[in-house]
Amino acid sequence: MALEFDRSIIGQIFDETAFPPVTKEEILAFTTALGEKNPLYTDEAAAAKGPYGGLVAPPTFVTKLRAQKFTPEHLPKFGKMGFDGGRDLEIHAPVRPGDALKMASTIHDIYEKTGRTGSMYFIVIRNEITNQKGEKVAVIDHRIMQR
């Protein structure tokens, strides 16, 4: 018997968050925190001669964005406890100073698997991030594991 839940929740947008425009200072603070030295992300003059024609944020910059609601109000529960099951990040377009980013969140998938310690249930929350031009910037899949 396959895992039972209301499948209509899959793919429904449960949160849309708009962020203030990204600033150069924000990018530089992020790179400093990471110890990032790549001039594409840290040096405006050098980055202007690079492939993006200007300063861009490191690819993982989008992971600092937080949706207003991380999970929907009626998140299905399949076990007694849940914890972070990791995340996947897919990069589509660079983030530049001035970009106004938006994040739409959905439940992308729910599935069950079995391992050495028994059954595990995974809820995949997908954050799709776009910029002011409507370009897809990144997709982040967060896995919540329940058991």
Binding site: M1, A2, L3, D88, Y111, E112, K113, T114, G115, R116, T117, G118, S119, F122
Partner: protein, 231 residues
């Protein structure tokens, strides 16, 4: 054409692996002296990657790439080789509570072969279930050497193979690029297609190979000549 295959590995098509197939092939090309594989079988979790087309990669790297599945049953996990439309119509591979007996019997009837993997593993290995319930009918062979097993899990399988006369094969169960080919299977005949593989798995004439580097044990204290009394 291949005689040494990694029979169990997962690519980025599985939920818990981020290994691209081409990265596996590059790694094998780099490690050819240590892991002389001629092909691999992708066994994605709870699905059959029907869309995956690796013919260009086969040509580029000169390695055979076959596709199979790892499914979850009431007797633990099983590798299903020779997956076809009839098998996919008969079973929902996402169901983690498939009847093992039905999988073994029906997959065989529909042209494939289902073989228990990592049988020595707790909860999802065959041995633990055999201790509680009757043995399955129609099992031809088991994955006696699994590269993802913890200490003691592979060692438990020798008794199972001996007791039931199962054929034994090996696979890396790799989810990470650098683990590919650490455990594999050597066949007595050339494998060119998935049909060859299914026929050979049914008939026998194969054995597990272990390419893991056995690191020498580091003594916890310098060796000192023993001059004791023997007490």
């Amino acid at each position: 054409m291949a005689r040494i295959l990694d029979m169990h590995l997962h690519s980025e098509a599985s939920d818990d692996s981020r290994a691209p197939v081409e990265a596996y092939l590059k790694w094998l090309a780099r490690k050819r002296d240590e892991r002389p594989l001629e092909g691999l079988v992708l066994t994605e979790h709870r699905q059959f990657n029907k869309a995956g087309d690796y013919r260009d990669l086969e040509d580029k790297y000169g390695l055979l790439i076959l596709k199979a599945s790892e499914v979850e049953t009431d007797y633990g996990h099983m590798l299903v080789y020779g997956v076809n439309d009839d098998i996919l119509n008969r079973f929902d591979f996402k169901n983690v509570r498939l009847s093992a007996q039905e999988v073994i019997s029906e997959v065989a009837r529909l042209g494939g072969i289902a073989m228990p993997c990592h049988p020595g593993r707790p909860t999802i290995g065959l041995i633990e279930h055999y201790q509680k319930r009757p043995p399955l009918e129609g099992v031809v062979g088991v994955e006696a050497l699994n590269g993802g097993s913890k200490k003691g899990e592979n060692e438990r399988v020798a008794g199972l193979v001996q007791a039931y006369g199962y054929h034994a094969f090996g696979g890396s169960d790799s989810h990470l690029v650098s683990f590919v080919g650490l455990c594999a299977t050597e066949f007595d005949r050339d494998i060119k297609t998935i049909e060859d593989l299914v026929d050979t798995l049914r008939a026998g004439g194969y054995r597990p190979l272990d390419f893991r580097v056995q690191r020498p044990q580091t003594p916890i204290a310098p060796e000192v000549p023993y001059h004791g009394s023997g007490i």
